[in-house]
């Protein structure tokens, strides 16, 4: 049994149960150059609000969110753009 994931087949997978919430952390919202993350409407099992990703097709797979997430709660696949864009 794996851990629950938003978008299992998408470019940006979010493991919402690992997230400690965009209200206290929110690094993903800050480092995404395309501003594709927004707070989810629902909370995870521990009561934290994970991000959701809108317009996945605009994602350049820069992987900033994956690199910066301190809880390893985001995984990006399908790299097409330039890696490790500095914010």
């Amino acid at each position: 049994m794996g851990i629950p994931v938003q978008n299992p087949d998408g470019k940006v997978r979010i493991f919402q149960e690992l997230c400690k919430g965009v209200e206290g952390c929110g690094i993903c919202l800050h480092v995404c150059r395309k501003k594709l993350f927004k707070p989810a409407l629902t909370l995870n099992r521990k009561g934290y609000r994970p991000p959701v990703i809108a317009e996945q097709e605009s994602c350049t797979s820069c992987e900033n969110c994956e690199i910066f997430c301190p809880d390893m709660a985001i995984a990006v696949s399908g790299r097409t753009g330039k890696r490790r864009v500095k914010t």
Binding site: K20, G21, E23, G24, C25, K46, G47, Y48
Partner: protein, 384 residues
């Protein structure tokens, strides 16, 4: 968001936000910290709000410099605080001892999380209860308050500032991720109804060598920086004028005893407990969010015809042994409930076991608040 210091009104607020608002209402002018889950929201709120009221928030490079900045700011006469979680307290421990030794008023908020080491940041565990008292080296007394709700995060932060200023000492708020992230109604009263204490300062022109600036059990006035006092502030053993003395054992004796007695002498004023028990009850002793479960369990037990009462210790340090004794003399049995493996249990047992039986109940899983039904089952077990 309005920019006044005290935002009177009724709010639906997170415990951590209520803590930051409590600090502002108490007159906090400076805070420093390093972000850490589950305490970050307090720092975020202070970073936004302190500059609005003429104060400052500094994000430092780590927790060691955070507590150092706070101690320095306190010596300039400001009301100060820092916020962190267990790993941060571990780093701060040396300087917390320094603050105790040189009698520096400051508030330290520990929003506890799953530990040891980096543990599980998103879960509340009452794992740092004894660390607050014994984290730094040497004999010393500390004040620690344990809130159970967002409203108490607000109220006790004000109380913590008042105790820090009144007794010239670091004061801990021992919250945890549950209370810190809990959202509930919080009432912020009118500014004029909030009691605010400010430390005693010698009058301008006083020679610090001529007064007791340190080591007074009734709390010496603080010769703060920038007012013309030429006081020596040293963490090494010192006399009442702050002068270093590493020769006489009698000097060390005073250094140790007076610092501790400064808190112990005023224990009655510092102690906040909330007792709801009668003679012959099985009394549930708890603190923090577990007290909410204890109170629900006691109600359920009473409805089922079982003799149950509660005692919540809000002031955990100095340890309220008189209140525990008073309760134990009446109780049929004492059940200590903590969300840990029994940190306050030995202290409670030491005070209560002369008078009645004492047992301990941890939650089914550490990091989970007790299910009231588990507690009721335990009450039935001890009654039979």
């Amino acid at each position: 968001m309005t920019s006044e210091r005290v935002r009177s009104g009724r709010y639906f607020m997170m415990g951590n936000e209520a803590c930051a608002e409590g600090a502002l209402a108490a007159g906090c002018e400076f805070a420093a910290g390093y972000p850490i889950t589950p305490a970050t929201e307090i720092a975020n709120r202070l970073a936004k709000r302190l500059p609005q009221v003429g104060g400052a928030f500094l994000q430092m490079e780590d927790e060691i410099s955070s507590i150092a900045a706070v101690i320095g700011a306190s010596w300039t006469g400001k009301k100060v605080m820092t916020v962190t979680s267990g790993p941060g307290i571990s780093l701060m421990s040396e300087n917390i001892g320094f603050a105790v030794g040189v009698e520096t008023p400051c508030v330290i908020v520990n929003v506890q999380r799953g530990a040891p080491t980096t543990g599980m940041p998103t879960v509340g565990v009452q794992g740092d209860m004894v660390q607050a008292k014994h984290g730094s080296h040497g004999d010393y007394e500390i004040i620690a308050l344990c809130p159970s709700s967002p409203q108490e995060m607000f109220d006790y932060t004000i109380t913590a500032f008042n105790y820090a200023e009144k007794y010239r000492t670091p004061v801990f708020i021992l919250s945890d991720a549950f209370v810190g992230h809990m959202r509930e109604e919080v009432t912020i009263p009118e500014a004029k109804t909030i009691e605010s204490v400010y430390r005693k300062i010698p009058s301008q022109g006083t020679d610090p060598q001529s007064i007791r600036g340190f080591l007074d059990e009734d709390i010496a006035p603080m010769p703060i920086f920038g007012r013309g006092f030429k006081a020596h502030v040293t963490s090494s053993c010192h006399d009442q004028a702050g002068k270093r003395n590493l020769i006489d054992l009698s000097s060390l004796d005073l250094f140790v005893r007076r610092l501790s007695n400064k808190i112990l002498k005023h224990k009655e004023d510092i102690t906040i407990v909330d007792g709801n028990y009668a003679k012959g009850d099985v009394v549930l002793v708890s603190y923090g969010p577990v007290a909410r479960s204890a109170s629900a369990a006691a109600n359920e037990a009473r409805e089922a015809g079982l003799p149950a009462g509660t005692l919540r210790i809000a002031t955990v340090w100095p340890f309220p042994d008189h209140e525990i004794e008073k309760m134990a003399r009446k109780a049929k049995h004492v059940i200590v409930l903590e969300n840990n493996l029994g940190q306050m249990y030995p202290y409670i047992k030491a005070a209560a076991a002369r008078f009645t039986g004492v047992s301990f109940l941890a939650p089914a899983l550490i990091g989970q608040i007790h299910d009231p039904e588990e507690i009721v089952r335990k009450i039935k077990e001890v009654v039979q």
